[in-house]
């Protein structure tokens, strides 16, 4: 049986509202699989992808997660963009004791032995971004955030880190998903007179904010953990609406390193029409290589064997944006965090970067998957019970 192909399920939104940010993820996985197969597969076994379009619809994740695990009997699944989709399929992965990679920046806190998260989490993005912004622009911060888990939990992180760094929150506003009109929000921001705005906007409708803020001449520096790196707003809107946007990313296609350049070249060779190669594409690509390494070292696709390898604490790959290592306690990864600064003409420069930033919070808060598997999502205001 070991001679057959290794099957990877791929559940990503190739249509619907999230397609903009996620089609590239599928392409990245295809690219990595092709490379690996060209180089002889994983331990001699070829990689085979089983792809379904989840149509930005949670129920499709439920249907297809069961399908890949039960019918297609895949060895691992790469799945999900929105956190809601991840929560929709997680019970099913747990039920069948499967292994799912969530290759997406998110609000953090998932402590689940059946999950490996390769996206960046708030402590990695905000502990770097906010001190820089406060030092550069001043202490008064205004947050606008999507009014759901990602936005609310990220905003909580912002609040905490701003306070730790001597800053002040002068305002905080939550925007329901799907809202596209921002006149009142823009006025509220002007009234609060912040030194910079933290924008944690999600979805295509909300990104209209930038154009409208620019048109009203709001002209404030912006900081974000989610924009630029996911939805490439600087490519879609006319300059200068994203002028002075600072985003901490673990990858964007503008990164000027040999690894990045090589990745972009390979990607564009295979997918010449790709509008943008975002950080989730990079994470998905690296995740395939992480999985390769795990299987090769475990000499098996068995989850228990793989987790024994993870427990050794030295599973690392060099991704397009830098080295990524799996943290055994949380099964999240460390990242090189790049500070991307969007200039007035919407080109991107990188004033600084931080190496080997750890996803420390879960582990410190009490999640330790090497010991127990609560299969829960925690937040700073709702930490694991052992710590409460």
């Amino acid at each position: 049986q070991d001679a057959g192909p290794i099957r990877l399920g791929v559940l990503e939104d190739q249509s619907g509202d999230f397609a903009l940010a996620t089609i590239g993820k599928v392409h990245a996985i295809q690219l990595a699989a092709e490379e690996i197969n060209a180089a002889g597969g994983i331990g001699g076994r070829p990689l085979e992808l089983v792809e379904y379009d989840t149509q930005s619809d949670n129920t499709r994740y439920q249907e297809f997660m069961r399908r890949v695990l039960q019918r297609d009997k895949v060895d691992a699944v790469f799945a999900g963009f929105s956190s809601a989709s991840r929560e929709a399929y997680r019970p099913i992965v747990n039920q069948f004791d499967g292994l799912a990679f969530y290759n997406n920046q998110y609000e953090g806190g998932v402590c689940d032995a059946n999950m490996i998260v390769t996206g960046a989490v708030p402590e990695q993005q905000f502990s770097t971004l906010l001190p820089y912004m406060i030092k550069t622009y001043g202490p008064n911060v205004y947050t606008i955030a999507a009014d759901y888990n990602f936005g609310q939990i990220s905003a909580e992180w912002v609040r905490n880190i701003v306070a730790e760094n001597g800053g002040t929150m002068v305002g905080e506003e939550f925007i329901p998903l799907g809202v596209s009109q921002f006149s009142q929000t823009i006025q509220n921001i002007q009234g609060a007179k912040p030194d910079f705005v933290v924008t944690l906007l999600v979805g295509t409708a909300q990104s209209s904010y930038y154009e409208q803020a620019g048109a009203a001449n709001l002209n404030l520096p912006m900081a974000s953990s989610v924009n630029v790196g996911q939805g490439y707003e600087h490519k879609r809107f006319t300059p200068p609406s994203l002028k002075d946007m600072y985003a901490t990313v673990n990858y964007v296609e503008e990164i000027d390193s040999p690894a990045s350049k090589e990745f972009v070249a390979k990607f564009r060779a295979k997918f010449p029409d790709e509008p943008y190669i975002n950080q989730e594409a990079s994470n998905s690509y690296a995740a395939v290589y992480l999985y390769k390494q795990l299987v090769e070292r475990a000499k098996s696709t068995d989850l228990a064997e793989i987790r024994k390898v993870i427990a050794q604490g030295d599973v690392c790959v060099d991704g397009p944006g830098g080295q990524m290592c799996i943290d055994p306690k949380s099964q999240h990864v460390s990242h090189t965090i790049h500070l991307a600064h969007v200039t007035a003409d919407h080109s991107v420069e990188f004033p600084t970067k931080w190496d080997a930033i750890q996803p420390y919070w879960l582990g410190e808060a009490g999640c330790d998957l090497t010991v127990s598997d609560p299969s829960e999502q925690y937040t700073p205001s709702n930490p694991p019970p052992s710590n409460g």
């Binding site: 249509s15 619907g16 509202d17 397609a19 903009l20 089609i23 009014d147 506003e173 939550f174 925007i175 329901p176 799907g178 809202v179 596209s180 009109q181 006149s183 009142q184 929000t185 006025q187 509220n188 002007q190 009234g191 295509t204 409708a205 990104s207 209209s208 154009e211 409208q212 620019g214 048109a215 009203a216 001449n217 709001l218 490519k235 879609r236 809107f237 006319t238 300059p239 609406s241 029409d273 509008p275």
Partner: protein, 290 residues
Amino acid sequence: MDIFNLIFSFLYQFGDAFAFLVLSACGLAVIFGMMGVINLAHGEFIMCGAYVSTSAAHAGLPLPLAIVAGAVAAGIAGMIVEWVVIRPLYQRPLDTIVATWGISMIVTQGTLIVLGPSLQGVGTPFGSFTMGGYSYSVYRVILMIAAVGTLALLWLMFTRTRFGLLSRATIQVPHVAEAMGVNTNLIYSLTFGLGAGLAGLAGGLYAPTMTLVPTMGASFMVEAFVTVVVGGADIFLGTAPAAAVLAVIKAALTGWQGQLAGQIGLLIAVIIVIRILPRGISGKILKERA
């Protein structure tokens, strides 16, 4: 903030909400109010207008002309859709819900396949102005003027032209209008085309201010439906006052408690208004007048 600026800023926010509600709703109001067709593809006509006007602007057409081009393109698309899909369904208005839902799926996904996940915007023209320490976008004021202008033009069209008369007759008792010598098929086509064109106009007008993606129409839908239904069957007696009432509620709640309150408040206002006026605002006005 002194009192004058306070009033100005509220008026600006009110006007902004009003313009969005009116422009979102007009096309839907024509198609629903006149034809009884519940057009779930309304958002896709908006998207069509936005895409065409943006592409036209990229191609060098001046923005006002590009917006008109968007409206015209959506109008033509509407006439085609009417001819192929809607016309056989006039006797079964509820089935148009499913048909237009299907069209919406085809258009949204078709656009994604053909044109990719997004379109680069053109940027908002005319810059900004400052008032009492706050800066505002000039273009939003243009949108308010466009909303009022659209209402006025529609009013003239339906009350002062023969088309208005005949289209209302056709919608009310088609077989008799036909027997009176009215080319009802043409009327249907023009009416639907007008509604789609108005949706396209909304798309063209808002295109510079928004993300251009195949699903963008969805962000107009709730507001559009709510306005039309609160307004009731008559476009002028209904849509305009409904938009005004809802805009006050929305602007006040958003300013006071934030966007979520604005959104939920809007929906709850709808429930309350309909409970008080079970046939919408225009139903009430018409009854009083008769």
